[in-house]
């Protein structure tokens, strides 16, 4: 939410500059209007000038809908601030609507009094009809509650580019740059970063390159020169931790984390995957990185993808597979095999709204129980979940640490909100990251395929190519120590317990959960995965209002942080917001027999801060 501060200053043209702590802008237009580009550029520039940022793209269903239609609307929200921020903002302060359909789909989120910039050229009869407007909202008074700026963006843009030598269609494609330029002016941002980017992107085509730059500057100058806008704004730098930053999406951070793990372990990364929204970007990222020796295998289906990853792990590589919910369902049987053969394996699930095909571009946390239990028999695996886009990097490395040390499948549970959203990432110092020792077995004298390390209960990893370690593994029950097939009842009972105990042992490496707030008493708001940002912000606000409420977030879902039970018992009430019907809540209730309260939302969208604040207020007044 924009907090208007008192300080005012004057611009040369006698327009006011207001200093704000935080602003959230949503760019919305037709899929073809380049809104994702505009949003990304705005984000970059804001990051470069030192704001903390958080973004979330709102991409339409997977099919390209007809131009101007409601399902064709594409949006990009960016929040930037002089303070640490944890979410892309509940509601935009500013909505840029490039056509009627964009207005229709997004207006509901703009608070009354919000700033609305519309491209008035597009509000013609045809487009209004496509957006199912009976009358023109710019004319019928229905926008009275907002601060509306009608800008003829299309004609201003084409006017500016009339000598560009481009075709009308090409010219029209530049109008996102015009809109972006206008927003840059409005929030006092420099043009350099984007001008530079245009050069890089369109360098090969000078006419298009020039046109985009001209459009961007024209938008900026339009803001500066027109009298339409009485005020523009300034959001000072945030006080971020010092260091080198870049902007990163969760999927990008995940891919980098996996490559980093491979470097740290000194073993080749092998990624078996079948494309699926919203996980495909990790495949795209990793396949760009051949110079790291990463092997990407686009399999014929999800089963082949995980099978290949298991094969690679058998061979001593980091066998990785990634997918989204329906794909995880298909991989179930093979993950069970990996549990039995006890090989390192990481399975990434970028969760999306289900069940079944569900809503492929929308977010949800509802694959947790599938990750825990979606296999036949007693088939325990480790599960980790990143808290933010940049945390995806850390947890991707962590997933591999666990997988390799404990010779076990680990499920990395991200979601669409994390994967597609972005935030600044403090680029880590590579040397600070500890190596991961694959610790291969090599000594035939002592090798036993199912002997166990007394501390971790892990079995040895003896890979093909190692002389005299020849052995056979498989999905039938294994005899303790020797690994031979065994139908012995006592052995089965023992092995079932050993596999469970091994996963429990991982807890010895998991950091305690840390509470943000009071040590005990009052309400604890607990979270896992992508709810981190909203919960942190909501709790901070509630505490600022003097409420007795604390927050705690955990990234290891199975096993849980060792102190979790103790922590939970120290508070009067515990609230667990989840983007599902209460899946982790069920696990914690069963484990700790505590009456944990849930806040659940399953609408394909993240929580808003307000929703969490409201629930806190409801629980502790």
């Amino acid at each position: 939410m924009a907090t208007v501060t008192t300080k005012e200053s004057e611009s040369p043209e006698h327009q006011d500059i207001l200093e704000l702590e935080r602003v959230t802008i949503r760019f919305a237009g037709d899929s073809g209007d380049g809104m994702q580009l505009a949003g990304t550029q705005f984000t970059k520039t804001s990051a470069v000038i030192g704001n903390d940022i958080s973004t979330f793209p709102d991409i339409p269903a997977e099919i390209r809908a007809p131009q101007g239609s409601l399902p064709g609307v594409s949006g990009f929200q960016v929040s930037f601030s002089s303070q640490d921020i944890f979410t892309p903002g509940d509601q935009p302060d500013v909505l840029v609507a490039m056509n009627p359909a964009a207005l229709k789909t997004n207006l509901g989120d703009l608070p009354r009094g919000g700033l609305l910039v519309v491209n008035e050229n597009e509000f013609n009869e045809g487009n209004l009809k496509k957006a199912a407007y009976a009358s023109n909202p710019l004319e019928d008074g229905s926008l009275q509650a907002y601060r509306v700026y009608r800008v003829p963006i299309s004609t201003l843009n084409s006017g500016a580019l009339k000598d560009s030598g481009l075709t009308p269609v090409q010219i029209d494609r530049c109008k996102n740059m015009f809109a972006l330029g206008l927003m840059f002016w409005m929030y006092s941002r420099p043009l350099e970063t984007t001008l530079h980017w245009i050069d890089e992107k369109f360098g090969k085509n000078p006419a298009v390159c020039e046109a985009n730059k001209t459009a961007l500057k024209s938008g900026y100058h339009f803001g500066e020169t027109t009298e339409m806008f009485a005020t523009h704004y300034h959001v000072p730098k945030a006080k971020l931790k010092p260091g080198l930053y870049r902007n990163i999406t969760g999927n990008e951070a995940t891919a980098l984390g996996f490559i980093t793990a491979s470097k740290l372990a000194g073993r080749q990364l092998f990624y078996g995957s079948y494309p699926i929204t919203p996980a495909s970007d990790v495949l795209h990222e990793l396949s760009r990185f051949k110079r790291f020796g990463v092997k990407t295998f686009q399999a014929e289906d999800e089963i082949a993808a995980v099978g290949a990853a298991i094969g690679a792990s058998f061979g001593g590589s980091l066998g990785l597979t990634g997918t989204s919910g329906p794909g995880l369902a298909l991989k179930s049987e093979a993950i069970g095999l990996a549990v039995m053969v006890e090989l390192p394996l990481v399975i990434m699930d970028v969760q999306r709204a289900g069940p079944s095909t569900g809503m492929p571009t929308k977010t949800e946390q509802a694959d947790l129980l599938q990750a825990m239990f979606g296999r036949n028999g007693e088939s325990p695996v480790a599960i980790v979940a990143p808290a933010t886009a940049s945390d995806c990097f850390n947890m991707a490395v962590e997933a591999w640490r666990i997988a390799i040390k404990y010779r076990t499948p680990v499920i990395f549970l991200s979601d669409a909100y994390l994967g597609m959203g972005s935030e600044p990432w403090l680029v880590p110092d590579i040397k600070s990251l500890p190596d991961i020792d694959p610790n291969f077995a090599t000594d035939p004298a002592t090798f036993q395929p199912y002997a166990r390390d007394p501390k971790t209960l892990a079995r040895p990893w003896g890979i093909p190519g190692t002389p005299d370690l020849e052995h056979r593994i498989g999905g039938l029950e294994k005899s303790d120590i020797t690994g031979n097939v065994s139908y012995d009842p006592a052995n089965h009972d023992k092995m079932v317990h050993l596999r469970a105990a091994k996963i429990e042992r991982i807890a010895q490496d998991i950091p305690d959960v840390v509470v943000d707030g009071d040590e005990s008493g009052g309400l604890l708001v607990l979270g896992w995965g992508s709810t981190y940002g909203v919960i942190t912000t909501a709790v901070q606000r509630a505490r600022a209002q003097g409420k007795r409420v604390s927050a705690a977030h955990f990234r290891h879902l199975n096993p849980l942080p060792p102190n979790l039970g103790d922590v939970l018992r120290r508070y009067d009430q515990v609230l667990l917001p989840e983007i599902n019907l209460g899946q982790m809540r069920m696990l914690l209730r069963a484990k700790f027999l505590l009456d944990i309260e849930g806040l659940n939302k399953v609408s394909g969208r993240p929580f808003t801060i307000a929703e969490v604040e409201r629930k806190i207020a409801e629980m502790i007044g």
Binding site: K44, A47, V48, I49, G50, W197, K237, K241, P242, G243, L244, Y245, R246, N247, L256, T260, K263, F270, K290, R291, F292, G293, K295, F297, E300, D301, I303, A304, A305, G307, A308, A309, I310, G311, A312, F314, G315, G316, S317, G319, A334, G336, V341, V427, P428, I430, P464, G465, T466, P467, D468, L469, E470, H471, R472, I473, G474, G475, N484, V485
Partner: protein
Amino acid sequence: MPVREDKGSVMVTAERGTGPNPALTRKDFVTDQEVRWCPGCGDYSILAQTQKIMPELGIPRENIVFISGIGCSSRLPYYMNTYGFHSIHGRAPTIASGLKASRPELSVWVVTGDGDALSIGGNHILHVLRRNMDLQIILHNNEIYGLTKGQYSPTSELGKRTKSSPYGTIDAPLHPLSVAIGAEATFVARAIDTDAQLMHHCLERAYQHRGASFVEVYQNCNIFNDGTFRDFAAKEVRADRTITLEHGKPMIYGKEKDKGLRFNGMHIEVVEIGKDGITEGDLLVHDEARPDPTIAFLLSRMEWPEYPVPMGVFRAVHRPTYDALMTKQIEDVINAEGEGELRDIFLEGDTWTVE
């Protein structure tokens, strides 16, 4: 670990060489596990040939891996003293693909059954063949589900009565070699459990071939499908009812070497040499290396009693293998772009410093 260098062999057209590994004998490939097939099962002779050929190929034992799915046949890796993986039903080709693509220097063998390969695993077979992953795939075709005690398989003959088809099946069988050829296979061959020499030959050729080698072995399941191949494979009749394909040789068969196959217009016909003035010169000459797979496909359609059943190598053509192309692509990129530095990709895009 000693590693057979095989990287960058993308454009190699020659076959892989074999040669005895003097340090090893057949016995080195026998494990301490009790063999658990039914007495008389055809799987025994396939195992025997497989164990026998290993020392002849010249591969260090530690570089050999056998990967199977589930089925009677898929128990074979337990009896091979190499690395082995008895995986899950139908998925051996996927595990083998991941292993081979990540470790091209290993010699990876896939052992599968007609149900494992062509029922639940059909899709993986299709794709591993089109990718030409450098694997040896040995399909034990007993035209039945042995392990689950006798249901029909996708290669069981139409009308067959089994536990799950008490009134006879109604689905036409697949021809495994037609499927393979339709899936762009570069090497297809057929052997039979009772002919050790032929099996040995097919296994050897499969190993020599760089790329996905697909070998169908007719295997008798004496418990649930005894004698399915007897009509043409029994010792007494085999010579007259099968034909062993030999590259560059005319297609002659018969105990008396008096029968042959002739290409007549658009189909193949059986002729008697010496009768109606027919000589060897009239016969089709087998060319396993024909780039066009049509004749191999035609051979895959031949069935007793209309035709003799072809045995041996149907097709062996060269095409870069997936694993080699993958290795090469990475090498090329590294040559062009230099080896990757994490720092570079960490800092992709715009960066900024906070002080």
